[in-house]
Symmetry: C2
Subunit: 644 residues, 2 copies
């Protein structure tokens, strides 16, 4: 017996077995619902509205009587008992279109990989190459096997000797060689890490050297990006992204590791992310009308947990002290063995990780930004739940992860949300009336506050002088905007009638505490790293911001709250999705593909909780911008001038 489940507002209907879990049904439908606790029912984020039909739901204390009567249910605690119509409430919606939204004007220019520079440096040399050969047809006087004939041709025409082969290539060898009268194009892999022998991975009839493509993939905890690379022309020709469908099993790496320990949990997570990759890959290939057979290989970067989950490697000990990953390096793996819908010959090469919380995404970013070969002392910083920090130059690299918490991604903040439509992003507070002026993403009714918005609000509150350096609201202000709510004192950003949910949107002192802890952890992280190598904040010559968040951040405001160091703005640089850029670099340059292990090995990992001085630095940083104002001279000056 099957039942129908319709998800509104998408109007997507799926057929599921009687008794199916509603979260699973949503997964099947491709409908995203936040779910932080891996299905245990404790986070309460996956609430949905039952519009009609029969659900068997168990009820936890996370839903009030009123909500229950209105039809709110936790999707993970609900099982389909009849045809049902479900509405995903606005606060659970994740809008895929938001991912590719183009923005401008707020921040600095980004620095994508410069392929022309790569070519001029002689580094454009893809590890996979296609070689065309015309072979003499066999005769009774020369009836060597097809493979020997191919080897002789590649040796004579291209000086390639001592080749290795893929059995899947051998399976089509006889047919392909005769399809265009022994004129063939061989795809060679010069990258096999466990070997110096070039490997023949694929064979096509005729001259196919101009049809050579690869994919670069970035698996983020939230988002999966795929870039389509043209290796014959040497350029990036397309990209696509989607939410990582593992989101249904938990918002962050920790809940996913917990889920991976359940029966079949690891397999489900592995298949889930493979399904997302397949979907995004097919989309980008379709956009460019390319058959998947023209892909020679895939390069990949991801954080340590995402890499473990995609390769099906147990991540259990990543979250248990002393935080050891199973493997920071992975060998090249046949992509089909990981569930990707690509030809048999396609292998995946992935960027090495450094530790449990400094992953291949960061190493990839270090590669993309080139700091491992830059003489300048550079801070590379990726702000997120686990803010990652790399400091160093061409001679040494130190790195650490800060458990900043999910504040900058909207987590732990009552009205925090991802940067999608309705998120309050830009704020200005009138220092006389204390009334705000708000701009939301897509300029629709506000729904919550995104990470860059939180930074901007905090900086604006500092400028309007409504909060003290300790993050508390001034008590002498007479305005209805500041009041005492359920969780203590709060500032009302948007009133109920103006919001999507019909609730006031506020920022409380508790929220501000969370934000200060997050920014304090990041600041303490890089100062501690510097101190441990005998350097000071003033020695920094350059800051590189990586990650999607970096693209939207207002540098002045981030410095104002003490998140980023007070360097001249021209010493700042964005690299955008540096992880994805690094992955595509590996496909473009054999030298860089070989260098990635060296770069990962070069990065010394610090466990901040074990590093002398970190706790002191952290406590000192729980101020706006900092207890030591001399760290932030330009901020100090601006605040003074405003008060002046």
């Amino acid at each position: 017996m099957t039942k129908h489940v319709t998800f509104k507002p998408y109007e997507i209907t799926v057929e599921v077995p009687d008794g199916e879990n509603l979260l699973r049904a949503a997964l099947q439908a491709g409908v995203h619902i936040n779910a932080s606790c891996g299905g245990e029912g404790v986070c309460g984020k996956c609430r949905v509205l039952l519009e009609s039909g029969d659900l068997q739901s168990s009820r936890s204390g996370l839903l009030s009587d009123e909500e229950w009567d209105l039809g709110y249910r936790q999707a993970c605690q609900s099982f389909v008992a009849g045809d049902v119509v479900i509405r995903i409430p606005p606060e659970s919606l994740l809008d895929r279109r938001a991912l590719t939204r183009r923005r401008g004007g707020i921040g600095l220019r980004s620095s994508p990989i410069d392929l022309e520079a790569l070519k001029s440096q002689g580094l454009y040399n893809p590890a996979f190459q296609k070689k065309f050969v015309e072979l003499p047809p066999p005769s009774l006087a020369d009836n060597a096997c097809d493979l020997a004939r191919l080897e002789q041709g590649l040796s004579r025409r291209h000086g390639l000797d001592n080749l290795a082969h893929d059995v899947f290539m051998l399976r089509k060898l006889a047919r392909v060689m005769r399809e265009d009268n022994f004129r063939v194009t061989a795809t060679l892999d010069f990258a096999q890490r466990r070997s110096r022998k070039p490997r023949v991975v694929d064979l096509e009839p005729g001259d196919a050297t101009q049809e050579h493509y690869a994919l670069a993939i970035d698996i983020g905890t939230t988002t999966v990006w795929v870039q389509l690379l043209d290796l014959a022309q040497g350029k990036v020709i397309g990209h696509a992204a989607d939410y990582n469908s593992q989101m249904s099993y938990g918002d962050d790496v920790i809940t996913r590791i917990v889920f991976s320990q359940k029966e079949q949990g690891l397999q489900k997570l592995q298949r889930s992310v493979a399904a997302t990759i397949n979907q995004v890959m097919h989309r980008v290939l379709k956009q460019h009308q390319l058959p998947v057979t023209k892909i020679s290989h895939i390069t990949l970067a991801a954080n340590t947990t995402m890499t473990h989950l995609f390769y099906g490697i147990d991540p259990k000990y990543i979250r248990l002290s002393p935080y050891t990953p199973a493997a920071c390096h992975t060998p090249p793996v046949r992509a089909r063995d990981l569930g990707l819908e690509v030809p048999d010959h396609v292998f995946i090469y992935s960027v090495s990780s450094v530790s449990s919380y400094v992953g291949g995404d960061i190493v990839s970013g270090v590669l993309a930004s080139g700091i491992y070969k830059d003489p300048k002392l550079t801070l590379f910083i990726d702000i997120g739940t686990n803010g990652e920090i790399v400091i160093g130059n061409q001679q040494w690299l130190a790195c650490a992860a800060c458990s900043a918490g999910p504040a900058f991604e909207g987590g732990g903040i009552k009205f925090g949300m991802r940067a999608t439509a309705g998120a309050i992003e830009e704020v200005s507070i009138n220092p006389q009336t204390y009334e705000p002026m708000l701009l939301t993403i897509d300029m629709v009714k506000p729904k919550g506050i995104c990470g860059s918005g939180l930074i901007n609000i905090l900086a604006s509150m500092m400028e309007a002088d409504i909060i003290s350096p300790n993050g508390k609201f001034r008590e002498d202000l007479n305005t209805p905007r500041i009041r005492v709510g359920d969780e203590g004192r709060e500032y009302v950003l948007a009133m109920a009638p103006d919001t999507q949910s019909g609730q006031d949107i506020t920022l409380s002192e508790a929220d501000i505490d969370n934000l200060m802890r997050a920014k304090g952890a990041m600041f303490a992280g890089y100062v501690t790293l510097l101190e441990n190598v005998g350097l000071k904040l003033e020695d920094l010559e350059q800051v590189i911001l990586a990650g999607a968040f970096g693209n939207f951040i207002n540098i002045d405001n981030a410095i104002a709250i003490g998140l980023l160091p007070d360097l001249p703005r021209e010493d700042y640089q964005f690299v955008g999705n540096a992880s994805l850029q690094g992955a595509s670099l590996l496909a473009f340059s054999r030298e860089l593909l070989e260098e990635e292990r060296r770069v990962a090995d070069m990065m010394t990992n610090f466990e901040l909780s074990e590093t002398p001085g970190f706790m002191d630095q952290y406590i000192a940083a729980l101020f706006l911008p900092h207890t030591k104002m001399e760290y932030f001279p330009s901020v100090s000056e601006r605040l003074k001038s405003l008060k002046g």
Copy 2:
């Protein structure tokens, strides 16, 4: 709707879909039926007897009215239309037990691989080795990934650096390391041909170095052999065999290649032989109560066509002039990808072939017999449908395949059969009465004549002087044993009442012609090879007989009919199943595993049909023993003494 099919005399019943082909039903039941024509219905060998029930059979001219009325049907032309009981007639039975039957006394001693000699030569050095290490548990001060910890341990304890890894090992790494407190045994592969880096393929908790096994496999066209090797003790501890279940698709390589070109034909043949290997492998492991997880790798030898079929490589052009295989070398392949039921980490290493008809089985035999490092000029000969010949010494090797036809395997001979129960094997003919004395395998009523029996009968007829050197019966003999049958003059070996089938068993002049062509092709083959390198028959110093057939052959008789060269009997040596022995050598010795490609490359292939002098030699050899009696001095002398 399903139907039941019962096969007698095995009393095996299987359930099949309505309308299933009877040959397929037999395959499913594990019941062997000869079938030479790949299911086309033209050979008539797959006849079975319908005892009860409903078959839909089409009838060809191969069954007489009487046979049809008795219930004989061709299995490949029959489809199950109800529950049926089928009897496999004796002439179709292949008795598995016959394969492992021990014989003695007829021939010379065989020379199995001498492991002690290998050890004393320093060649005992398996390419796969297990290494035990005790690792320091991780701490916050040392929380490198498990893989790095393992690498450090292997480096410090065993001096192993620069290791490669298998992703399947990484999947269990975290669990296994913690199972016995970071005491682990790593299985290392030093053989990866496309690399010099040792590869960690498996990991077990605790010290498992004493539990290390491998499998050596010989895929013959007819029979699949599996040897179980103990690599910790350095010995062969078991073996098992079964008929290659591809037999149901055709008796010989040609019919199988034809079948492989049908829709899904190659896949069916691939799965078929994989199923046989799985069955034999599980049997031998069960006998020794070993779990399959203790197998580190598999080595394999097979003829060129069998290798193509097992690896799923299209063999189409092997049978079409100019006879080119797709590939004479195969890379190491994950055994699971070929359908073997072994752990993920198990790779298969197979012996290279030389040409379409000099395959990995022969190269393996050359390795096992050591002629590639012997100063003596040696003839290595494997007698079968395609008799393969290798001539040479430590400096050079020449080889060729002779299309001898299937006479020595019982094909093309009216009462020819495989060497199973009831096959006439030893014969003596009374030179006065011309009455025969017969001994059959297992001493049961005769059913036919096996290959070694045919040689013995022919030699006995020569000694009794009832045939002339041209292979014709003397016309002046007055005996009812010699008569004119349907196919011309024939000798009656066994009369109807004494035989299993109730028919006379005879050998006709047409049969003798076939035998002379077969032995003539072999003789012409090795003489032609010798002449083409400027040598003569007298230069031969040693003869090595390989193949199952070689074990049962009577050397004196084989020389008497002109099949083997007239060398002193002490210069002859048997190596039995040299292909299987060579495969196990590869597992025991990394040096030999690396040498096999060199040996294959060292073997110069001659296409006899294109080689000057072959046809003349062939025609000259169509005599008993030969037109030039000086080639066979000892035979000449013995015949003279008998007549004298």
